[in-house]
């Protein structure tokens, strides 16, 4: 299991979702990806994407204007 970070700052939805999806394709089951974004829309889109495609949201953190959403690849 490895930990990765994805910079999706200043991208507007659905770009953070597309970047997350494409990054996750390169990762292995169980890997953790922290997506850092600034579009609050990602907070509904990334979890929706994860539910649909069988990934797990471990949580999210907000500080200042940044939002970090943590995804575990797979269930």
């Amino acid at each position: 299991m490895s930990r990765f970070e994805l910079d999706a700052r200043r991208m507007l939805c659905p770009m953070p979702v597309i970047k997350t999806q494409n990054k996750v394709k390169e990762l292995a089951e169980g890997d953790i990806l922290a997506v850092v974004c600034t579009d609050p829309g990602a907070l509904s889109d990334i979890p929706a994407w994860a539910r649909i495609n069988g990934h797990t949201i471990l949580g999210h953190e907000e500080n200042d204007d940044e939002l970090t959403i943590t995804v575990r690849v797979g269930g």
Binding site: R10, L12, C13, P14, M15, V17, I18, Q21, D39, P40, G41, L43, S44, D45, A48, W49, R51, I52, N53
Partner: protein, 350 residues
């Protein structure tokens, strides 16, 4: 055991694609969705920018539709490839800058590529939510075979909502799907779709007024054409597409345009462009951030600053102090008198 046939569905997030998928799921077909992001899609964007949109429920309708259907959704970034569709549409534009027919052909052809790439996983045909006669340009009966032919999909393109009005396709001929259980919807009347939605228990679905993208919007198209004319070139980047949705746009001179934020959310968004563009802001009073797109000469600073000041709280003051920041240069300040309403000419508004 008979092979499990799989289809990939073009998902826009609207009701039609939702129904088309459910109709096939009822027949035991396994479906996955594909959604193409051209940069102009109605989904997302602006709600993240403007203040008053912040509290609205945010949802990406394509993802929402996929979740309702219990299918996977692949979102594909086609921003670069789409440029050629928008700039050189063989079949021309619709009422605005929307190249709907070429767009449909392009998207179906991308789906054909996807099916080829995923053939091993059992994908063998494509479905769309198209309904004959529903859209003036891209869904007339005569154009249905054009989309199938020019996209290279031919007989593997099935439109479950209007299949009975069209020649049978491979999935029907091969008996993968039962043609009798498909539909014959046509025309602009949406009642049959709404009835079917009710039957399937879909509520709260999206029904975008114009189309699936901003190119069907007159204001947006006007701004796009103005951008191209102003630059003398039809090149565009993702930032340009986004900026056309932000702020009020005024072109006081052919060589430059001003983008003036309408609220704090937009000001904050424009902040992100400070390093790339000349920005102008009143500092003696509260006021919006404004950005200059194009080439502005020093002698026009006063004019530009006067316009920006018109939209801030100092609009009636005798004099306001304005900060002009040019990337890579020291910030300059200027004392100017805001333009009056009459001085901001109607024809400047893009």
């Amino acid at each position: 055991m008979a092979k499990q046939h799989k289809a990939v569905a073009l998902i826009s997030g609207g009701l039609d694609s939702l129904l088309a998928v459910r109709v096939l799921q009822e027949q035991g077909i396994e479906v996955e969705g594909i959604n193409f992001y051209t940069g102009f899609c109605v989904e997302g964007h602006t709600h993240a920018i403007r203040n008053h949109d912040k509290d609205k429920q945010k949802r990406n309708n394509a993802l929402w539709a996929a979740e309702q259907l219990g299918i996977k959704l692949h979102i594909v970034d086609v921003i670069e490839e789409y440029k050629d569709v928008l700039l050189n549409p063989k079949h021309g534009y619709g009422a605005n800058m929307n190249p709907c027919l070429d767009c449909k052909i392009f998207m179906v052809s991308k789906a054909v590529e996807w099916v080829k790439e995923h053939h091993k996983e059992g994908f063998d045909f494509i479905i769309t939510g198209e309904v004959i006669g529903q859209r003036p340009m891209s869904q007339r009966k005569e154009v249905m075979p054009i989309v199938a032919g020019e996209s290279g999909a031919d007989d593997i393109l099935l439109r479950p909502l209007c299949a009975k009005n069209l020649a049978p396709t491979k999935p029907e001929l091969e008996g993968w799907v039962d043609r009798e259980k498909l539909y014959d919807f046509h025309g602009r009347n949406r009642k049959p779709q709404m009835a079917l939605a009710k039957q399937f228990g879909f509520t709260d679905y999206a029904s975008p007024a114009g189309g699936c993208c901003f190119l069907t919007d007159k204001n947006y198209s006007d701004k796009l054409v103005d951008l191209w004319e102003g630059r003398g070139s039809r090149e565009y980047e993702m930032d340009d597409i986004m900026l056309l949705k932000v702020g009020r746009h005024l072109r006081p001179k052919p060589e430059f345009k001003m983008i003036i934020a309408r609220d704090a959310g937009e000001s904050k968004y424009l902040e992100g462009y400070r390093k790339q563009f000349v920005t102008i802001q009143v500092i003696s009073h509260n006021g919006p951030l404004s950005m200059v797109d194009g080439k502005i000469q020093t002698e026009d600073y006063e004019l530009a600053a006067g316009i920006v000041a018109r939209y801030g709280q100092g609009r009636d003051a005798e004099e306001v102090k304005v900060e002009i920041s040019v990337p890579g240069q020291d910030v300059q300040t200027l004392n100017i008198k805001p333009l009056s309403i009459e001085q901001v000419l109607e024809e400047w508004h893009v």
